[in-house]
């Protein structure tokens, strides 16, 4: 899932400062699940923005709407009927959503209200951790299901660096050393030998090294 968190209020306020009528658009997908931009967060942010404008002695009109998915043109179309009654759009979706809106409503200033962070998994309620960097060439099959690209601070492919301490990464005792995890996992699977296989230099093209990526499924294209 894509994870995101709300931008500092100050930054959001600065974006919309010149406008009186704002469309606050949430998304019912990933950002809802990571509690950054679903219906509830939309409501909270709207409330906060209204409070702020009252504090400035200003009246601001905020229309709240949460789309099923902001990265699909059909859902984004829902805004079309009302978009003329607004001065700016504040999107609480991930970067994909913001860009889909910007692509569709070209005349309209569109601002992001969240910072899109990473593809992560929920560790437990309220905690999300990065798990995938979309490198386009998945090697989880040989690293025991733990990704060294996303989870090793140095994206090392051949083992831990010398900074590992008690299974934790040198950058912080909060961060697990991915290679320690991989090693433990390989041992548990009886696949220790795998470790000594050299992993050759990675082809970074599928991860964006070859420019913006795109998937075309010819069979599905209409």
């Amino acid at each position: 899932m894509i994870t995101a968190e709300q931008k500092p209020l100050e930054e959001i306020i600065a974006y919309i400062e010149p406008y009186d009528r704002i469309f606050l658009v949430g998304c019912n997908e990933c950002v809802t699940v990571c509690a950054a931009g679903g219906r509830k967060e939309v409501g909270l942010l709207a409330s906060a923005l209204r409070l702020n404008s009252m504090k400035q002695g200003k009246t601001i009109e905020i229309k709240e709407i949460t789309l099923e998915r902001q990265c699909d043109p059909e859902y984004v179309e829902e805004l079309a009927s009302d978009i003329n009654r607004t001065d700016a759009v504040l999107s609480m979706a991930c970067g994909c959503g913001v860009q889909t809106l910007a692509g569709r409503y070209k005349e309209m200033p569109i601002f992001p209200a969240v910072n899109t962070l990473f593809m992560g998994a929920s560790e437990s309620q309220g905690i999300w951790a990065e798990r995938c960097r979309g490198c386009g060439d998945c090697l989880l099959g040989i690293t025991g299901g733990i990704c060294p690209v996303a989870r090793c601070s140095k994206s090392l492919f051949n083992g831990p660096c010398g900074g590992t301490c008690s299974g934790k990464c040198e950058i912080s005792p909060e961060v697990d050393c991915a290679w320690c995890l991989i090693w433990e996992r390989l041992k548990a699977l009886g696949m220790e030998k795998r470790y000594e296989e050299l992993m050759e230099a990675k082809d970074w093209r599928p991860s964006g090294g070859g420019g913006p990526r795109k998937i075309v499924r010819k069979d599905l294209v209409l």
């Binding site: 492919f157 051949n158 010398g162 900074g163 040198e170 320690c180 000594e196």
Partner: protein, 310 residues
């Protein structure tokens, strides 16, 4: 002989090699390099020139290496994969070689978080093992990483680092084996304070016959004080400083502690000389280069053999 490296020749001759290191200055004064290197002259076989050590910007390691080379000494070019991608690294390698540098050490490098450019994007196009592999391929197959032929391949004597103390311990030998498999000719270890553990490590290394495949230089660091020992124990990741060492340093007055530290270093060398698979020493006297000659002498490693005589 794979290369013209002085270090290779000494090691191949069966002598115990001695290396030390020299961190380039944070500025453009070549004399700084010379001053530091001069302290080591005659007492070591080669000098490691660090590459943006602790993720702080310094004079590039190949440039400093060239200055040292000009002094008639033998630099070991350190290269970390943090700051350059495979193109930049290869161009630096052939550049350095063209200026007479023939020995290098491949590392991944400290994370930028620890340095003075914490906001920098770290590159990590390759990791240290892949770098070793790349250099070896450049030398032995005469090919760039991308597959193209090299006109006059760099004949680098390739080194890698090994930390016998980092966790998980049961992975350390495998990791060394992997580096050897990738093409490492020699290995320099992390500073050794826990000699017992190191000996155990070496036993495992020998059990796998790795001592036959690589030259291993044991890392030695003299402690300036008990405070430094404690700091290394608690703050430096991957460092194993036994309490006895700290206690021993604390057992003498503050003024005597540096002397005691040197004593410990010398004793360590004496003991490790006997360990199977140890082919030399890498003395890392952090900001204390002036003491290196003394250690080398006291440890009975002086004078250094002259290469011409081999």
């Amino acid at each position: 002989m794979k290369t013209e490296s002085k270090l290779e020749r000494i090691l191949a001759s069966g002598n115990l090699a001695v290396t030390s290191e020299c961190g380039p200055p944070r500025g453009a004064r070549p004399e700084k390099v010379r001053e530091k290197a001069a302290l080591l002259k005659d007492h070591v076989d080669a000098v490691n020139v660090t590459d943006n050590q602790t993720a702080m910007v310094r004079m590039s390691s190949w440039a400093a290496g060239v200055i040292i080379k000009q002094m008639g000494m033998d630099p070991i070019l350190q290269m970390v994969t943090r700051d350059r991608n495979r193109l930049a690294m290869q161009s630096d390698i052939i550049g350095a070689y063209s200026l007479g540098i023939n020995t290098m050490l491949c590392l991944s490098g400290d994370h930028p978080k620890f340095g003075d450019h914490a906001t920098a994007k770290s590159v990590y196009d390759l990791d240290s093992v892949q770098l070793v592999r790349m250099v070896q391929k450049m030398r032995d197959e005469g090919k760039f990483q991308g597959g193209a032929d090299i006109d006059c391949p760099p004949k680098m004597f390739v080194g890698a680092a090994s930390n016998p103390f980092a966790e998980p311990f049961d992975l350390r030998v495998s990791r060394l084996a992997k580096k050897i498999k990738a093409g490492a000719d020699f290995v320099q270890t992390q500073c050794i304070f826990n000699l017992d553990k190191f000996e155990k490590f070496m036993e495992m290394v020998c059990d796998r016959g790795l001592n036959e495949k690589v030259y291993l230089l044991a890392g030695i660091t003299p402690m300036k004080s008990a405070g430094m020992a404690k700091y290394m124990k608690n703050k430096v990741p991957g460092m194993d400083v036994p309490d006895e060492v700290i206690k021993r340093l604390e057992g003498v007055s503050k003024a005597e502690q540096p002397e005691e530290g040197i004593k410990i270093a010398v004793e360590s060398i004496q003991r490790l000389k006997e360990v199977k698979g140890v082919h030399g020493f890498h003395i890392m006297a952090i900001e204390w280069e002036e003491k290196v000659p003394q250690i080398v002498e006291k440890a009975g490693l002086f004078p250094r053999p002259a290469v011409e005589n081999l």
